[in-house]
């Protein structure tokens, strides 16, 4: 996948993964990398930035694996931002699809 596209949607993907349930950092790394090829370490600075911007919140939860884990949950501002990004994504996807179909018809 084109890296510029990945950069543009990574915020939205991470926030979307937190929309239904809270998750910890590596869990998000695994989820996102299943569908989008990313370097694992890119997620953590991104999460830090999202937290600094107030889009996500963190808390510690006891873990059966040992030390408590830091979990991320979507903040209200993050929910609003995510909805805006989803709307923009749908709009852009529709426009791109329409243009590609039109180009294909002209070629055909």
């Amino acid at each position: 996948m084109n890296t510029q596209w990945k950069k543009g949607i990574l915020d939205m993907l991470v926030l979307a993964m937190l929309e239904r349930t809270d998750r910890y950092g590596f869990e998000l790394v695994e989820l996102v990398s299943r569908h989008v090829e990313i370097a694992e370490r890119t997620i953590y600075p991104l999460l830090k930035r999202l937290r600094d911007e107030g889009l996500v919140e963190t808390y510690l939860r006891e873990s059966s694996m040992g030390a408590p884990r830091k979990y991320y949950r979507l903040a209200e501002a993050g929910r609003t931002y995510l909805n805006e990004m989803k709307a923009e994504w749908k709009e852009m996807r529709a426009a791109v699809d329409a243009l590609l179909e039109e180009a294909a018809r002209e070629q055909g």
């Binding site: 950092g25 590596f26 890119t42 991104l46």
Partner: protein, 368 residues
């Protein structure tokens, strides 16, 4: 190296961060490390995947500097990031990209430092001018007080404008650096690149007010320029105030506290003014003291008129001569005043220069 050594080295290199931030990053790295190990990777593979301690620390250092540039776009911050970039502390591969911008940052730092100095001097000058326009007039003979005050205000405004411009420029530089890094790290998302995503798109942040700042700076600069032009025009157009007659002017003197200067005018055949002709007046004005004037219209013959000027504070002027003592005699009474005696007491000394010479009556200086 093993996991603990690897993480300890990163932690050591992150000492420029606060303890909570460092602990937070350490926690994230531990989680990532364990997660990659759980996939079956060896220590070497995990460390290669995450990056060397130098790389990790350099990326966080650069991110820290850039965040600080956004929050505090001042010369000190720009200097720090410039030094960090030149010393190779920033992200591997980003140094070359930032090289040109670093030199620009250093140039802006010099500009900003000069702007701060100019602003401080201009504000001080403006404050003095506003406080005492007479000071400005006496400091620059021939310039009306209004012009002097306007020059001070214009200089102060220009100085403030310079400081704002430098601040704005540092903000712009911060954005330029971020843009360069965004383009540089386009491949950071793939597993084949060793770069970091430092800033995808902070679209959620409040819109920067730097455009508003730029507009304000432009307006301020235009106002300062307009004020300066007005002040210069005033200097050229408005003639300097001329006293009726400035006969004697003391350019420099020293006075001790309580020193008295007596100025005595010997008048012969003083003409009493009729109609619109003002009465003769002998006025002695000593700066920073009270003013006394004596009306000569009531005297006649060879009469001594004493004008006493008592100075309240010790005062010394020598480096920047200013006209501080003027004896004025109206032009139409010039012929009536045949002599002038300046009596200095208490060790006072004055250096008297005359303006203009053709109007100078005889002058005698007595010291007691």
């Amino acid at each position: 190296m093993n996991r603990d050594d690897y993480l300890a080295r990163i932690d050591e290199r992150l000492r420029f961060l606060t303890d909570p931030e460092r602990i937070d990053i350490r926690s994230d790295l531990e989680e990532l490390y364990e997660g990659l190990r759980a996939r079956g990777m060896t220590d070497a593979q995990v460390q290669s995947r995450i990056g060397s301690p130098q790389t990790v620390a350099a990326e966080y250092r650069l991110s820290e500097h850039l965040d600080r540039l956004d929050r505090y776009p001042g010369p000190a911050t720009g200097f720090r990031i410039g030094l960090a970039t030149l010393s190779g502390q920033v992200a591997r591969g980003a140094t070359f990209q930032l090289f040109g911008l670093v030199w620009l940052a250093l140039a802006l730092l010099t500009f900003a430092a000069a702007a701060v100095v100019i602003a401080a001097a201009a504000l001080a000058a403006g404050a003095i001018a506003g406080y005492d326009p007479i000071v400005t007039t006496l400091a620059m003979p021939g310039i009306p007080p209004v012009s002097g005050a306007l020059i001070g205000i214009a200089a102060a405004a220009a100085g403030v404008g310079l400081v704002l411009v430098s601040r704005l420029a540092m903000r712009g530089l911060s954005r330029a650096i971020r843009e360069r890094l965004r383009r540089r790290h386009t491949d950071a998302m793939t597993n084949h690149d060793s770069g970091w995503v430092l800033d995808a798109a902070p679209a959620h942040r409040q819109p920067s007010r730097w455009i508003d700042s730029r507009r304000a700076v432009v307006h301020l600069g235009m106002a300062a320029g307009a004020l300066t032009i007005v002040a210069v025009l005033l200097m050229l157009i408005v003639p300097a105030p001329r006293f009726p007659v400035s006969v004697y002017r003391a350019e420099s003197f020293e006075l001790d506290r309580g020193t008295t200067i007596e100025i005595r005018a010997h008048a012969v055949d003083v003409r009493i003014a009729d109609g619109d002709v003002p009465a003769a007046r002998l006025t002695a004005e000593l700066r920073r003291t009270f003013l006394q004037s004596v009306d000569l219209s009531a005297v006649s013959g060879d009469t001594s008129v004493v004008v006493e000027a008592r100075h309240r504070e010790g005062l010394s002027w020598g480096i920047n001569p200013k006209p501080l003592l003027e004896v004025q005699i109206p032009a139409d009474q010039q012929a009536a005043v045949t002599g002038l005696v300046v009596v200095l007491t208490g060790g006072a000394e004055i250096d008297i220069r005359t303006v203009p010479p053709e109007l100078r009556p005889a002058l005698l200086v007595e010291r007691r």
